[in-house]
Symmetry: C2
Subunit: 324 residues, 2 copies
Amino acid sequence: MATIYDVAREAGVSAATVSRVLNGARTVDPAMVARVLTAVRELGYRPNAVARNLRRSRTTLWAVIISDIGNPFFTATVRGIEDVAQQAGYSVVLCNSDEDPAKEETYVAAALSEQMAGVIISSSGSVKAAKTLLESPVPVVAIDRELPRGEVDTVVVDNEAGARTATEHLLTAGYRRIACITGPEGVSTADLRLRGYAGALPSEPLVVRTDFREQGGYDAMSSLLSSSDRPDAVFVANNLMAVGALRCLADRGVDVPGEMGLVGFDEIPWADLVRPTLTTVAQPTYELGRMAARLLVDRIATPAAKPAKVVLPAELRPRQSSAR
Amino acid sequence: MATIYDVAREAGVSAATVSRVLNGARTVDPAMVARVLTAVRELGYRPNAVARNLRRSRTTLWAVIISDIGNPFFTATVRGIEDVAQQAGYSVVLCNSDEDPAKEETYVAAALSEQMAGVIISSSGSVKAAKTLLESPVPVVAIDRELPRGEVDTVVVDNEAGARTATEHLLTAGYRRIACITGPEGVSTADLRLRGYAGALPSEPLVVRTDFREQGGYDAMSSLLSSSDRPDAVFVANNLMAVGALRCLADRGVDVPGEMGLVGFDEIPWADLVRPTLTTVAQPTYELGRMAARLLVDRIATPAAKPAKVVLPAELRPRQSSAR
DNA sequence: TTGAAAGCGCTAACAT
DNA sequence: ATGTTAGCGCTTTCAA
């Protein structure tokens, strides 16, 4: 690969001048600019970002560490992040931790080693990854899920209120024994949605914890169906588990919403095309991403500012699965 | 941030020794290893990958440039890539071109500037991006879609055969006037699936081209419904457009599969939960990702080897939407 | 306005 | 087995 010195020689100028031209300094003679650009084109020169980053001690890359690329929730969120990032001159690289704390730690370590300009993370619960990030100088924004013990910029939805609304909706519809399927302890969305559910319930809570995956939801629903204290409705704390639960009910021939009501948290892509259509608590995903990116831009500009916490509203979308 | 020299000073050794310890050289005295590791821990030292990459003139990052992060097709594919990459000592960063050639070009440029160790790309059709990649020394594997005019390692499914099978399936089911909704010209999947469809058809083809998005499928179906030559079945060349088409039919109250048969190419996540369930041509997505990653590993090891082209089979999954 | 030169942090010859 | 040293490619003072 051609280096900046090759270009300099070809154009008959110094490397410093080439650098100035390429970085848009206005103190360069137009004639030289032309010569440099010609040389760049002829040699097919492409600046080595690694060298530049080393010299500048900074990069223009953001790492966005998401917990499950298979969850459509992240699609719109990432788009929101990308749109703001691009405008601010950053490129976004996505890292998929796949709900695996070990992978999350690997990606956090990589982001720091690679001197990324910032990190946006939806924690899969690794305390170690969170600690590493917090002790590092890299600007961090937590999204969707709070960072364990983290005093950092955070963008979440009002999980507790959303869960409460969903549970009250089931009560209003006439369901009496409402269970909750939620995610792993220590993941803030799992815990807060559980709290919202429990708070809305006049009776004793009935809780199953599992992972945030479709299979987890299936298994959880399966165990609820065969329990002695079988519920007549379930609030499911994320979208993929809700789909799993729905599939389980279909497989078992349980009538939804007649025999069993169902509300999920998080939209699923074709919530209105599945049968029965799925009642969900929808989140402003795109806006979540935009907001996180804006916070990160601000944080990079002002590292010492007090961390912000933004809570966006979630909204119930009543559909068939809860309409008794 | 602490540098390798800080660690060296703290441990009372040279920077070279620290480097050796950190890179697992076995020619280091165990006592020194211990001292170095202690110093590393005390200082919270973290190697600067940018400096390392510059010095080594290589990185351990792969760029995976996908054309639409919102398409669930890529979920399993990316997982396949990641699993192989991790085993081979590479980290994967995802870049979402969002079917936008300009974004694709930006990400290709970034991947080259950042000296990424390799690129796996699902082209959104930018000839310029393809050219840039092919003229660069970076190892490239095309996945899902062929790279425009690219003599590179390629992993695709047998699009033509899959489309033919789908079309024949509709004919066998008794549909007579079968249309095709496909993607942009120049995108290999769009063109090959169209060819497979046309090849299987005894009559004149009826084709609508649009983008590969849900809205595109909706609009295309809408125009087919109001055309004078209204079809009784449609083969839709990707998953998102199939969902759009299905939604359009639902909105218009057209009975599927009675009034209109439908087959999509690519699975959708809950094909069996939507109503009617959607007949699709399924692809071995995870295997596609694994294969691409394996080719990339080989290519990095043997840059001069002849490019391979791997064609994996696609498989019809008959469901309700085509069962007249 | 331009060039010379130093140095970002690391690794790998080479020397000891 | 360990240290010395040069240099990866770039940017940015500093001097002219």
